[in-house]
């Protein structure tokens, strides 16, 4: 039983996961992640891919909202920028996925920094409303995007989804192949972002969140770091968007409206603000909730035949209700609930 923190070296003190039970848990999770696709069918693989992509986007949003304290209702727009820039590069120029995805992510980072410019003068609620405007403007550009050559939707040729020439359909079904891409990207994102908050920039982000004026007084360049936060956050939004484009093979603006922004905000609120693992839990929760409800409806449809016509409302209502209940009863999200469970066992039998 662990009774305190007894580090004897600086390296141990600064480690991300200082204790062996934590490392054991990480190892177990990694093993589970590696083993899962060999046993899962296509339905579960596609759910896992959706969760992994959503988790990348949610981690990106969490950098901005949870760590830097800049509320953004524009994540859907930034996802759209990533998806459509990758999609256009693949569809028009025939560029392969391993080129389009990084370029699209970088491009989204630039667009995100541009829409972060209002943060020079705005904060809190006003900034939230400014990002709402960004979202609406991006949606409008996409719906009236004749100059971009997008119709109702954009389809991405399957053969562009390859990595260094290895096609996604070469090894088994595409869901299985994409699993390694999406989960690989997610793992890289997690490693990058976990370390980001041990760096100079990450510390500056947290200082801005906690008290921006005080941060400015001690020498944090507010404008620069706010823009950097917008750019980093949008980079991951772009990554998630670009992966969505290649994974789905067809994208339309309807996938990236303000409802999507709200979905991502809900993920980080429910998972836990300012927590990388929380973003993943939230992404899983928000993705699995409608899937579970539709499975439930299918089970009950024998007994209650009209349940299927109510399913969309049940899903939407459950989503709203989940947000409200979490905010009222556990505002720190799933990550706090999980920590409570861990604390209970760590302190047992002296849980006071």
């Amino acid at each position: 039983m662990q009774s305190g923190t007894f580090h004897t070296t600086y390296a141990a003190d600064m480690a991300l996961r200082p204790y062996w039970p934590q490392r054991l848990r990480i190892a177990l999770v990694l093993v589970a992640v590696l083993v899962f696709p060999w046993f899962a069918d296509r339905y579960w693989l596609s759910l896992a891919n959706t969760i992994a992509i959503a988790a990348i986007g949610a981690i990106g949003l969490n950098i901005l909202v949870g760590y830097t304290g800049q509320i953004s209702i524009g994540q859907g727009g930034f996802l759209a920028v990533g998806a459509f820039s990758a999609g256009l590069m693949a569809a028009r120029l025939g560029m392969p996925m391993w080129i389009t995805v990084p370029i699209a992510s970088l491009f989204t980072a630039v667009v995100g920094a541009f829409f972060g410019l209002p943060s020079l003068r705005l904060k809190g609620l006003y900034l939230a409303i400014a990002t709402l405007a960004a979202q609406e403007i991006i949606t409008w550009v996409l719906t009236h995007g004749k100059l971009l050559g997008i119709g109702e939707s954009l389809s991405i040729p399957r053969e562009t989804s390859n990595i260094f020439g290895i096609s996604m359909t070469a090894i088994g079904n595409p869901d299985f192949a994409f699993y390694w891409v999406t989960v690989g990207c997610l793992i890289l994102t997690v490693i990058f972002v976990s370390n980001l908050f041990r760096s100079r920039a990450g510390r500056a982000f947290v200082a801005i969140r906690d008290q921006d004026i005080a941060a400015q007084v001690i020498g944090v360049d507010l404008f620069r770091y706010k823009l950097l936060a917008f750019a980093t956050s949008s980079f991951f939004a772009g990554l998630a968007g670009a992966l969505t484009a290649h994974y789905r093979g067809i994208i339309s603006w309807e996938r990236f409206t303000i409802d999507t922004s709200i979905l991502y905000l809900a993920m980080i609120i429910i998972g836990g603000l300012g927590s990388v693992s929380g973003s993943i839990y939230g992404a899983a929760f928000i993705t699995l909730l409608p899937a579970l409800l539709s499975n439930l409806a299918r089970l009950l449809s024998g007994a209650v035949p009209q349940i299927n016509s109510y399913l969309p409302y049940m899903q939407q209502g459950a989503f709203g209700l989940a947000i409200i209940l979490f905010l009222i009863f556990e505002p720190e999200g799933i990550v706090k609930m999980w920590r409570n469970v861990k604390d209970y066992f760590r302190l047992w039998p002296f849980s006071y």
Partner: protein, 293 residues
Amino acid sequence: MEKLVQLTMSGVANGAIFALVALGFVLIYKSSDVINFAQGELLLIGAYLTYMTVEQIGIWWPAGVVVAVLLAAVVGVLIEALVLRPLIGEPAISVIMVTIGLSSLLRAIVGAIWGVTPRPAPQFLPRDTMTIFGASVGVDKVWAIFLALLLFALLTLFFRFSREGIAMRAVADDQQAALSMGISVKRVWAVAWAIAAVTAAVGGILLMSIFGGVSGSIARVGLLVFPVVILGGLDSIPGAIIGGLIIGLLQSYAGGYLPPELGMGEVVPFIILLLILLVRPYGLFGQRFIERV
């Protein structure tokens, strides 16, 4: 000229409705610092409740409208008591998010009860047209403007002379001072939500009769409330009214004079919103705050 008059009239009519909705939004913000993303759903609820009382139950329409508006007020009070009150003192993002969750829940409830297919609205505003400066204009628009003005006048009297109204102004001015003078802040919040629900319901009913139908798209107007209140100033009631009219007119002119395939009417309010935020974030009439650490 004819087009100008028509566009102006529909702009003013829409603007008056925006102003009504924005007014409720500003009231909630002033009294409890809550940014209400569910304002559009309050419109939706008002419209559908009226549809229920007048069309489905079949009450004589003036009575039906009154019943629907009262029911909307009850919904407003319930929302405040059940959802917003537990979150007092939580950070801004939580409060924003809870109203977003609320909007999703309310839309789901409305959808589950009445479905998504648009339904024909009960007709109570006259549908014929009248001639103003040689242009034919729908009488329902004139009625909408008139009713909105009437409601503004009533609310102005309420804030100036009634006990509740003065208490609300006191709480908006300084919550702690108001508390120490024996004003029940909880009661003020309940009244603010009730009024917001009522103004939104009236806005929803007017929109329903202008559109000639009721459907989920009415809730879209809830997003337009943001350009309106930012233009006018988040905490200014005159600002909400003037901002509503300006946004309504600009939207109408942009939709009418710019090429229709661009759909500029939808995006112009948000471009204005960004510009205002960059140039004058506290809006035309909003209060400037000095920040301290």
